[in-house]
């Protein structure tokens, strides 16, 4: 992925020198031409075109912001309720993610999800221990983490 971006950048640079105008406009034009060239030559790359991962990363960022706002609203409703009726629980969450950065990203996402905070990552990095503020939501939380976050992260890391 980094190689493709670098290639696109160099094509833009070559375009700037060919048209002998070192301006931002000619860089942008060269970048677009380079992107069209990469699009036409994409079957020679071993991995997919980099825009797919870029788009997945943008979607992950939007998911991050949405979850942050939702979790804050849930804490708000929990705090202003007159009687504090909470049932905390610490549960184990098995994960399929392999790389360190993926697990870090997943735990950050879980911490910003409504009602869950990651407390411990097992030594073999296969299980996350998550503190849920309300035991009733645990099954639902596991389900949503599995289906939404892990899928989004795997979308980004897939070559």
């Amino acid at each position: 992925m980094a190689f493709q971006i670098l290639l696109n950048f160099f094509i833009a640079l070559v375009w700037m020198f060919l048209s002998s105008s070192l301006t931002v406009t000619s860089f942008v034009v060269g970048y677009l031409i380079g992107f069209i060239l990469l699009l036409m030559m994409r079957r020679f790359f071993t991995v997919k075109l980099y825009t797919r991962r870029l788009w997945a990363a943008i979607k992950l960022t939007l998911l991050f912001i949405k979850e942050l706002i939702m979790s804050n609203l849930s804490v708000l409703f929990l705090v202003i309720r007159p009687k504090l009726a909470i049932q905390p629980r610490i549960f184990a969450l098995p994960t399929d993610l392999k790389h360190d950065w993926e697990i870090t990203l997943l735990s950050s996402l879980i911490t910003l999800t409504p009602g869950t905070v990651v407390m411990y990552v097992s030594d073999d990095q296969k299980v996350l221990y998550v503190h849920a503020i309300d035991a009733g939501d645990v099954e639902e939380a596991v389900h949503s983490i599995k289906n939404t976050f892990e899928k989004a992260i795997r979308e980004v890391s897939r070559p």
Binding site: L68, P88, G115
Partner: protein, 118 residues
């Protein structure tokens, strides 16, 4: 135009203030360190991000100064706040702070006991 800008600024700063107050009430009302970590790691993040965003909009739309530093501050807060909450609750658990008596299940206890034994 200035009306829209000012509405935006007031809205973001007010949101930030509300969530900062929610953090304070949550830290005071919740029973133990782990539930307090919920309030401190989520609401404090959005509270400070709201205030920084309001400041950013004010300097950009009213003073014409595009401050990259405020945006970087928001980004850094986004990255570090969940990790802070994680590390605080992890350190508390490993040093033996008991969860509140409302807690219904604890899968982590055996793991920590096992690793202490090894």
């Amino acid at each position: 135009m200035t009306v829209i800008a000012n509405t935006l600024i007031v809205f973001t700063i007010l949101t930030g203030l509300i969530f900062t107050v929610v953090t304070v009430i949550g830290v005071l009302r919740f029973p133990d360190v782990y539930t307090r970590a919920h309030a401190a790691s989520k609401s404090a993040t959005l509270g400070v991000i709201g205030i920084l965003l309001g400041t950013f909009f004010h300097f950009w739309l009213n003073e014409g100064l595009f401050s990259i530093k405020l945006l970087l501050g928001i980004l850094f807060l986004f990255i570090t706040a969940p990790i802070g909450g994680h590390l605080l609750s992890r350190a508390a658990y490993l040093s033996g702070v008991k969860p509140t008596k409302h807690t219904v299940g604890d899968d982590l206890a055996e793991v920590v006991k096992q690793s202490k034994r090894d």
